[in-house]
Amino acid sequence: MAEVLVLAEHTGGEVKKVTCELITLARRFGEPAVVWTGPGAQQGQPRCAEFGAARVYVAADAAFDDYVVAPTAALLAQLVTEKAPSLVLVAGTAEGKEVAGRLAVKTNSGLITDAVDLRPADGGDPVAEQSIFGGSTVVHSRVTRGTPIVAMRPNSVPAQAEPGPAELTPVSLTGQADGARITGRVVAERGERPELTEASIVVSGGRGTGGAEGFEIIEKLADAMGAAVGASRAVTDAGWYPHQFQVGQTGKTVSPQLYMAIGISGAIQHRAGMQTSKTIIAVNKDPEAPIFELADFGMVGDLFKVVPQLLDEIGRRSQL
């Protein structure tokens, strides 16, 4: 059975959830082989095993952490040549897509980004589902040249455990790939909250919060729900909340189990970033707000009345 290469996303040795999703998905097409760059593979191995990885190719060279994207793409291209996988899966994060783009050039292979599902067609070849134009159109497409490379949107396919050996197999990059060097890293404060694109629950605030002070209630609700915080463009443009938390056309695309849009009208720019969320709750004082067209549950009311009451209610019920 041919291998399916899965590029691991990890911080230190901690495997990201999307990687567990990709290993699960890889099992539909062949033998999952994780590609691990940088240190931490020992620590991450049990997680890869839990979801059924047959092996973990480990390239621990520091270059992978020190240079932007290029060495990782070079390593994957080398493994595509050496191992002849039937498919390469990467996380549909900004960086994952860039790796995929360079790999596509190196191997002259077709690339599909932002897939929300991937299934074998009759011949076994992968057919990807994408949700485009802000979620208004569903497209199925396939790669017709080279080794298919697919960048999956996080939270699209549930991770399901099935044990595998996840045998650690050292590999090294032959040749040099450097380019742009990373000289510093600054991590933004997000406390103990999950990462926006990975989170199962996202609580987002919009113009209705009225300002940076009003936006604090969004953080409170997010913390009560164990959720990530998102923001509409109106909020980040006005400087009420940092830009990297913007959900929408020019920001992040999220696909959580639950999306709570608080004080967000739901302009197309915003919907493009959250329309594939599984369950959507909206709180807005304007009954005509387009967000209500998407909402599974909509509350027409003042968010500064509804949310504090909701917070009390969550607190009260957690005591029961």
Binding site: A70, E98, S141, M299
Partner: protein, 264 residues
């Protein structure tokens, strides 16, 4: 300094966009085209870098590079009216249906012809939203990739950018020539002035065909595509949800819904 800004004309996101029955490519004819929003930030950054260079007595020129149908000329003209010096329009019916892989190939061919010290792109387009072009161009041109930049500093031939990451940002350095892609928030794109609009009418726009750019026609367009659409459909509208008005117990009702769906 030779700065080339890649500009894509995209369908206005304010209108309904569709795929064409048959080949499943984007219907660009039925919706107004405008400059991809993130490319406006790329143009602005290019202009600012060129202005700073000129202030120190160096030469600097900003060239707009766009691949697209005839009507992309409107977007090119707008970029020139913002202040770019000249433009190259890669225009050939054989390009229709090109995917990211072949687009990067075609643009790299033209960039080899124009030469460049710095290539600047928007970090993604609002139509395909792949976010891969800058990475693909860097790979094809064999130069450093400084993508997702929220800040760019150039000192001689050294370039430093602040690269937005999932959890903050990275400081990244390289030596020119290089490819940069920018995120919004890097700057505030200027509006074309009346003077700029008038001046743009006289600025040179070079039109290149596939043959003139030395591009293999088999490697671009639908024929050169490395992916194909199997089928597509409009998403059925979401099933209408329950919308209720807050009667003083709105928070409790939201909590009830959350509890019923086992979120709390």
């Amino acid at each position: 300094m030779n700065i080339v800004v890649c500009v894509k004309q995209v369908p206005d996101t304010g209108f309904e966009r569709k795929l064409k029955p048959g080949d499943g490519t984007l219907d660009r004819a039925s919706v107004d085209g405008l400059i991809n929003e993130l490319d406006e930030y790329a143009i602005e950054e290019g202009l600012r870098i060129a202005e700073a260079r000129r202030e120190t007595g160096d030469d600097a020129e900003v060239t707009i590079l766009s691949m697209g149908p005839q009507k992309a000329a409107d977007s090119i003209r707008k970029a020139l009216s913002m202040g770019a010096d000249k433009a190259v329009h890669l225009l050939d019916d054989g390009l229709a249906g090109s995917d990211a892989l072949s687009t990067s190939y075609a643009l790299a061919k033209v960039l080899h012809q124009t030469g460049f010290d710095l290539v600047i792109c928007g970090s993604e387009s609002t139509d395909a939203r792949m976010g891969v072009l800058a990475a693909m161009l860097a790979e094809r041109l064999g130069v450093p990739q400084l993508s997702l930049a929220s800040k760019v500093d150039i000192d001689g031939s050294a370039i430093r950018v602040r690269r937005v990451s999932d959890d903050g940002y990275h400081e990244v350095e390289a030596t020119l020539p290089a490819v940069v892609s920018v995120v919004e928030k890097i700057n505030e794109p200027r509006y074309p002035s009346f003077k700029g609009i008038m001046a743009a009418k006289k600025k040179p726009v070079q039109t290149l065909t596939l043959a003139e750019a030395g591009i293999d026609p088999a490697a671009v367009g639908l024929a050169g595509a490395s992916t194909e659409v199997v089928d597509f459909a409009e998403r059925p509208p979401r099933q209408a949800g329950v919308i209720v008005k807050d009667e003083g117990d709105g928070g409790v009702k939201v909590a009830d819904f959350l509890a019923a769906r086992k979120f709390i």
